[in-house]
């Protein structure tokens, strides 16, 4: 069976199309190179992956509104973190419950600390927006979450 790429000119035409449509490349590359500075090299640190985001569920059901809360779950073993993001308020919980120190890191370089109470609950300033991740230090383990844009 022949294919359009059996012809060199078709191959190059398609490649040309593909490259022409690859827009914003210089800005994308710049962000890529900057990302390396955030690399985590602490091997003891658990990486909690973003395993649930209600934003992606809601879009299927077409029922979300701007005032709805957004629920995020970052999962690692044995420690996970949940976030509930509402306008003006962000509440979180460490699972299993327990006190801990949390550092919020924003990709723009701003970081600040908050405390989780004995039940694992914590609150972030509602104004926290943008690309962030959390580092949680508890008696059980230490973790860093995936980056997420709030």
């Amino acid at each position: 069976m022949t294919h359009r790429w059996d012809d060199d000119q078709h191959l190059l035409d398609d490649l040309s199309d593909a490259l022409r449509e690859a827009r914003h490349a210089s800005a994308i590359a710049a962000y890529g190179k900057g990302a390396y500075a955030w690399r985590t090299i602490d091997e003891e640190l658990l990486l909690a992956s973003l395993s649930f985001d209600s934003l992606l569920e809601q879009v299927q059901q077409r029922r979300s509104g701007p005032d709805d809360e957004r629920v995020l779950v970052f999962t690692a073993s044995p420690l996970s973190v949940e976030l509930e993001v509402r306008p003006g308020q962000i509440a979180g919980r460490i699972i299993p419950q327990g006190a801990g120190e949390i550092r919020v890191e924003a990709a723009d370089g701003v970081t600040f600390h908050i405390e989780a109470d004995d039940a694992g609950f914590f609150t972030l300033p509602g104004a926290v927006r943008g690309l962030i991740r959390l580092r949680c230090d508890t008696a059980t383990a230490r973790l860093v979450t995936d980056w997420v844009r709030l």
Partner: protein, 253 residues
Amino acid sequence: MYHGPSTAALYSEIVDLSGGLSSGPARGDEMGDGGHPITSLVDAAVSGDEPAWRELVDRYTPLLASVLRRFGLGATETQDVAQTVWLRVVEHLGSRREPQALPSWLISIAKREALRCVSDWQRSVPYDPLDPSWLPSATEGAEPDADLLRAERHEALLAGLAELSARQREFLILLTADPPLSYAQISERARIPRAASGRPGPGRWAGSGGLSLSRPTWPAGSWPGTRQPAWTVPPSATRMDRERGIWDDAPLG
């Protein structure tokens, strides 16, 4: 994870630069010693070699840009999503068992993050079921399947391009420049002797000291005979999966 033939296997055959042109292998181009260029770059980046990471970014930026373009995001949103994607890739790079699967992994993260961005935008707008702008973007075109196949062709080509050496990539980009460059200009910019590049057409660059562009060879009956890259969409993917880009095993999120 690839679900079919490796793009590496397919595309390492696209371009063969014969000897005498290169001033020595660039980073990650050590194909001759049995190492895969992407594997060695990923390994180096994981172990703290920042130039290796920068090289990976340069190689895969066109692919990422191409994937994000399909979602119709603005410039700011595109860059926001790209930043999230790269940060995700950096963080998970060391836990990937198959560095050669980086392109399919990158594509799936990009689709998911772009979808998240689109979802965030949609929920800020009151939902009107009769408003055609609420139709999923993947079905907007008159021929969604054709659009999808075209996008997948682009992804496959750009993933293949990323695996070539810097010099090979530069040459192909010159050949595909828009507006087209003259062969004299290509010869000059690619630093290829005029005699080797004096005849038009990539298939005619063969010759001692020159370039030869060999077309890829595919196993009989496999992609692209079926017109669909198997590693991008497995047959089990539902239509909704195909539109949403969730048919792979990339890290959630």
